[in-house]
Symmetry: C2
Subunit: 529 residues, 2 copies
């Protein structure tokens, strides 16, 4: 499989006219063939019309059929994973092992969401049967459930060319929820995007689904993405990327005549609070664990631990010296794109010039797109008074905050903006009763990690990958990873006094799908009376 360089508009291809761009090999510093054409206005319109035509078909599609389709996509990705990974290695500089693992994760995610769709419990089906004799007014029969929103636009992210891109979590959850998907490919890995897109379209054909099920649009800049978010036929948007990029799309969607939801996962500094007991018990293990978590993917993870908060003590100073030594010995690695590297260099340079901030570790960099860890330290009082120290630096850089005591640690926690994660490293004798720090962090993050590290986002029923603003645009009311991710692409619909034949099977009295439903206030899998 080799990419051709054109957008995929349903079963057709994109027309001419858009700006041309090429992928870039960050490890070698060279451009890659072929050239890609940005989607034209016509391409965008055609993709939106096709998706809209497919939407009612998808809304009626059974969970079993959605599952069959998602399994077909996963099977296709697995069958072609050597081709996919080979191209992704060139476009991202990431290792084969990492990318093979990411394909596996992406396929597992697709299958889990497919199973969830087939099982149907997530639809929150509820029935209240009629009480025709009730006084003063009869009670009608009401049956309600989640229904798909319609065409969803997904923005691929740069840092996970599979798991958060063309066939990633947003796409998989939108399909599972019953929505057609239009992906705006990330220009950092267009070839990988095209190959994955073609495999999705093979599954569309194999499952005899409508053409508008899926389209993939390229964009050298921002125009195509903006046009998609503003398009009146688009009903929701998924995005993973920077606060600046995400907020721009959120604002665009909010200003539409009909506002639509944008689920943007954006910036997070993922604070790690280290209590004294943790260092007493296992300082060396924490050096290793925190180091490994912080350099994973060259720090280009949304859950990268960017803020390390501890009380100053002899043991804590030794811990930071040990960690710094390990960071200084960390080999450089290529960042995903020259743009990301450029931002990393300028942001770390700016931070190193800030008053009250000191560099504590800085490994050497030599190759074109390379980066190595740069860590900083500052006093809590300086952090509390300097807003931009709360801003994420995307890449292998973290900031150590020195607190004079536990009260100052609590103040740092209170001062935090929203985050995807907050981590607490504690000693065994520090978890005997309620901790105010836990309450404070629960108000600031979507996932609280105890005695672990924030990187590693399990795809499961219980995962929450979302948090208060600015980590996500919807303030952590939803998650972009885990089976609750399906909910984002739905709205509630209630049927009052409906004829059985006109009800969706999920709400029919006979319960033909065997769903767990809330019937007159009790959860049951039984059919009605």
């Amino acid at each position: 499989m080799k990419p051709d360089g054109g957008s995929l508009i349903g079963f057709g291809s994109g027309g001419p006219g858009g700006a041309i761009f090429q992928a870039f090999d960050p490890a070698r510093g060279t451009h890659l063939e072929p050239s890609f054409s940005s989607a034209s206005r016509d391409d965008i319109e055609r993709a939106a019309q096709l998706a809209t035509a497919a939407a009612p078909v998808w809304a009626r599609l059974s969970g079993a059929m959605r599952n069959r389709f998602l399994r077909a996509v996963a099977d296709n990705l697995e069958a072609k994973s050597p081709d996919l990974v080979a191209r992704a290695m060139l476009e991202t500089g990431l290792s084969e092992a990492r990318l093979m693992g990411e394909v596996a994760r992406t396929c597992g995610q697709m299958r889990l969401y497919g199973e969830t769709a087939e099982r149907g419990d997530w639809l929150d089906a509820r029935i209240e049967t009629a009480l025709p004799e009730r006084k003063p007014l009869p009670k009608p029969d009401h049956r309600s459930m989640l229904r798909p929103l319609g065409p969803v636009v997904v923005f691929g992210s740069s840092n996970f060319p599979f798991a958060y891109s063309v066939a990633g979590g947003d796409t998989a959850s939108a399909f599972a929820a019953g929505c057609p998907v239009i992906v705006k490919a990330h220009p950092a890995h267009p070839g990988t995007s095209e190959l994955v897109g073609r495999l999705i379209l093979h599954a569309v054909r194999d499952c005899a689904l409508p053409e508008g099920t899926f389209s993939l649009l390229f964009d050298a800049g921002f125009e195509v993405g903006q046009a998609l978010v503003k398009h009146p036929l688009v009903k929701a948007v998924g995005f993973t990327g920077s606060v600046k990029g995400g907020r721009a799309l959120v604002d665009l969607a909010a200003a539409r005549p009909e506002p639509i939801p944008v689920y943007a996962e954006m910036g997070s500094i993922n604070p790690v609070f280290i209590l004294p007991g943790a260092l007493q018990e296992r300082s060396a293990a924490i050096v290793d664990g925190l180091h490994a978590s912080s350099i994973l993917g060259v720090g280009q993870f949304c859950t990268n631990p960017g803020l390390i908060v501890l009380e100053r003590s002899v043991a804590a100073e030794q811990f930071v010296r040990d960690l710094a030594a390990k960071l200084n010995a960390t080999p450089e690695a290529a960042m995903l794109t020259p743009g990301i590297q450029k931002n990393f260099i300028s942001n770390t340079a700016a931070r190193s010039r800030q008053s009250g901030v000191k560099v504590i570790a800085q490994a050497r960099t030599s190759v074109a797109c390379g980066a190595a860890p740069i860590w900083f330290e500052t006093e809590a009082i300086n952090f509390l008074g300097t807003h931009n120290l709360s801003e994420e630096i995307f890449g292998p850089s973290s900031l150590v905050i020195w607190c004079r005591n536990g009260t100052e640690m609590l103040n740092v926690a209170r001062h935090l903006e929203g985050n995807l994660t907050a981590t607490l490293l504690v000693g065994g004798n520090e978890v005997q009763g309620p901790l105010e720090l836990v309450d404070l962090l629960a108000a600031k993050a979507g996932r609280l990690v105890m005695n672990g590290y924030p990187t590693g986002v399990e795809v499961s029923h219980a995962m929450v990958h979302g948090g208060p603003y600015p980590s996500t645009s919807d303030g952590g009311r939803s998650t972009s990873v885990g089976t609750r991710a399906l909910d984002r692409w739905t709205r509630l619909v209630c049927y009052q006094s409906f004829a059985e034949k006109l009800l969706p099977p999920e709400l029919q009295s006979a319960n033909p799908l065997g769903l767990r439903r809330l019937v007159n206030g009790e959860w049951t899998q039984n059919s009605l009376g």
Copy 2:
């Protein structure tokens, strides 16, 4: 009980300085004592600070305690319902029977949401237990659930002085979800608002809850409401009212440095599609039913049937003549406020001058704030080409759309904006198989009513009172009535590898609350292991 005219800031009262206003008796056309003072900047700040201080206490409050509080509020309202209804009759012109019913509904709603809070199933507690031996990576323990957002601002609406006002559905669901509430009272019934607010505060004291649990702010204009929506300590907003008012608040909230959700229930024309079979079977009954639904509350219901769509036929023309005769004989009644009446007069006057629109019924009005039904008709082709015919006229006015055939009826359905409800009146032989009209309407409304009328919103587990924009600001992803209303005031929080003692009881292995939880993919009420 008599109102004093001051805002209630926790257990204290509002300071001086705000604009003064009085309530108005629309039936008699006179102002009512006492004068009310709009809240000052200091009042707003104090209310926000108190609510913020109360938020962590409320976040930890057990469901049982929230239930106890909501029952105490309901008991207080019932005990004082004669006083409340007497004042509300003066301020709204609504009948004693209607208002007594509304108090009962409000109390029932509070108790149902309280029970739901105590039962706790709505929290969607999920647990994935650890797999330390899993390859390539161990699986950590993850436990997640919904947690309260923090201080919520509720805007009382004019048309339901109890059920959608100070102690209405937004307030009750926010308390049940664990959030302190600040109400911005509607200036149309400030005395009723103050009396209800004081009864809520009695319950706060009786249950020994923090002072910041509840505040009530008056506002002669829009300033106090706007300041509340912009206040950085406010985390979410509930609103019921016009599209213009709702959208202004939504835009304000979206433009904050930290955007917050505004759950605004706004405009809905609630289309009623009448198929030929329905008129064949029971024309006279539909005349009675539609007439009664349309004049309920002088048409000042968010579910008022504002658009009647039918195919032209001899039977349909006779039906409309019969309905018009009944409308013409309908006695006038006082509208809620002079402002609402003024809008009703100018909007109906403008519609009667529109090209292709004819008045088919117009009953007489004589008293100060009175209104009587005014109905219009137009051809489908004119409706499809004239955008403002899709706009809601708040009050007893509806528009009959004449279609030439079933295809044109489908086109009208396709053309609709979002609505809270869509109604389908059909004959027995018209529901033998899938109806395209049902699919179209399911994409346009939150509740589909078959062979009934849209007014009457049951408070239950299955109700959906929400719909695509502009009927609600969040596109119908949530409901403002029914137990799912609690979800709006929450976000997801996940605890990874947490010590049992630091977990909320809902997620502890022993399952001390006996919750239904999703444990490793299976719903169970059992404790772990």
